[in-house]
Amino acid sequence: MTFSQLYTTHKNMVYNLALHYTQNVEDAEEVTQDVFVAAHAKMASFRKESAIKTWLYRITINKSLDFLKAKNRKKRFSFLNARRLDADQGLDLPHFDHPGVQLEQKEATAAIFAAINKLPPNQKTVLILLKIEHLSQAEAAKVMESSTKAVESLFQRAKQNLKKIMASSEGF
């Protein structure tokens, strides 16, 4: 399979997965580029031990999490460099601009994602894979290089934590 074919076949999957992590178009575009540049570099060494889709899922998840970590680090440093801190000022909240969300659901979805963003990375990943990407537990286990039981257990923990976070925030 050529790189061009790989891109054409999987671009939407990668882009949508990046959107679920970053929740805005600009960041998702950047992550998508990172993923395909990395895939291009690693194509020759891809050993075909897993399906290409699973391989791309893993790269996308890793690149998305790396991107978010780097973004949070930048925010922390810009906070230290701020000349004046007003009482109402705080860290910028992630800009929610997910084009896959219907307008009437935007506020509710933004609140849910705000809670999901507070989960540990692996719990966030399992929720996204099972409940937004609609993968089966077996497929999610292959992507996360884990067992089906471990994925089920992780999902239950993610659900409980999400419930706690949403109960403690306003509106839910």
């Binding site: 998508t32 509710a108 849910i112």
Partner: protein, 83 residues
């Protein structure tokens, strides 16, 4: 929690923008060029070599040895001939 998952379920997949492919290929082609770090390292090494050469030329030159024998047995008088 079911309401939360129903809302997440309603998220629709979207098409990736067309311009992304050009941007990806631009970055792929850029990564094929020699990285700037390597160029900087090579420049620093050249500068170091030239500096060492200049330093070696600037220090007092060695006195050239025209007759190696003189340095081994310097003869300052002809006393032996008058003994």
């Amino acid at each position: 929690m079911e309401k939360v998952f129903d809302i997440l379920n309603s998220i629709q997949p979207v098409d990736a923008p067309d311009h992304l492919y050009d941007q990806v290929m631009g970055r792929v082609n850029q990564s094929r060029l020699v990285p700037m770090g390597w160029i900087g390292l090579a420049a620093a090494l050249c500068f170091l070599l030239i500096s060492v050469d200049v330093y070696c030329l600037m220090i007092e030159p060695f006195q050239s040895v025209q007759n190696p024998a003189e340095t081994i047995t310097p003869v300052t008088n002809n006393g032996l001939y008058y003994d």
